[in-house]
Symmetry: C2
Subunit: 172 residues, 2 copies
DNA sequence: CGCATTCATTTAACATGTTAAGCATCTCCC
DNA sequence: GGGAGATGCTTAACATGTTAAATGAATGCG
């Protein structure tokens, strides 16, 4: 893994190393990104076989646990931004995997629920998905997995309410 | 924050809970996603002030540590897929933040390096970025942070070479 | 040498992330 | 009860993720 010195034939190599920073590849965001990718890489092929993306699967899973939710709460649950969710719901509805009806009390609100077809699709995907998750758990260790999730939750807590309010130092 | 029970005025709520699965919000992918988002939320405003996205910043950081790299190796370092990197390099080059020249020995290869302007921009952003990272470290704890990164690395290792080769069980 | 194969990079096409606007609808308060 | 502002959702616009295909250049082999 040792980088060999640059080929001198290059002539005038542009300057570098002029801005000292932590080793890039070991930053927390990168670690989290790589770890998540390593995990998702396991699931994507199975989902793809059923014509589902990761986000569409998240939505179906969130819907499977309840009768109906408003779009905004679904966004929170599935951890998607409004615009993304809006597009995906449009597509899922076109595929008859979900149903929508405007709430009676408040015409602005739209109640989303999973359809029978959606349930069937979930039933087809879930076993595979659970098996993959089980294999991951087996490889990494159930105890370590629980520990990791605890630390991730603690990290979230540590940062809760840091940059959420209007950044008071970025306005001037 | 306690959710109130669904309004019974809804009438015939579509069936749910028909596909038993783990609690969705506690899955490993979701934990990783939320944790990473909590971290990146801290950095994005600062980067945005300098007209940089998270990925563009990753590329500049990767380039700052070396004289020049091939596109493919840069993709590995910055953890970006080829097509994404290709687009971003085009834009960064148009903004004169990077430079490119085709390698002499192999006309297919393109050597990418950071420009003087790129270095200047990095010098402007880096202090802020480091300060944010320091604050995150302070809040979460340096020791816990190191532990977390170790676990994330171990997770990656656990899954290395699982779904990377052509999935032998998805072909048939 | 000629040509099929491989390789590095880019382009294309579609899905999502992200921020800002738009559009209804609802709430509140005068 | 009417208009200002808040709220729920969608659309728009641009950047990236993701897979497949295209392009151009190097390589291997007959």
């Amino acid at each position: 893994m040792v980088k060999k010195p640059a080929d001198p034939a290059n002539g005038s190599a542009p300057a570098a190393r002029q801005v000292p920073m932590r080793d890039f590849s070991r930053s927390l965001p990168m670690s989290l990104l790589r770890a998540r990718e390593a995990v998702m890489r396991q699931f994507r092929p199975s989902l793809r076989q059923h014509g589902l993306t990761e986000q569409q699967w998240r939505i179906l899973r969130a819907l499977a646990a309840i009768d109906a939710v408003e779009v905004t709460e679904l966004a929170r649950t599935a951890f998607l931004l409004g615009p993304s969710l809006s597009r995906i719901l449009r597509d899922l509805e076109a595929r008859n995997l979900i149903e929508r009806k405007t709430a009676k009390a408040d015409q602005r609100r739209s109640m989303v629920s999973i359809s029978k077809e959606g349930v069937k699709l979930m039933a087809a995907v879930a076993p595979n998905s659970e098996a993959i998750y089980a294999e991951i758990t087996r490889r990494f260790g159930a105890r370590k997995l629980a520990e990791l999730q605890e630390m991730l939750g603690a990290l979230e807590q540590s940062l809760a309410g840091l940059g959420s309010a209007d950044d008071t130092l970025a306005e001037g």
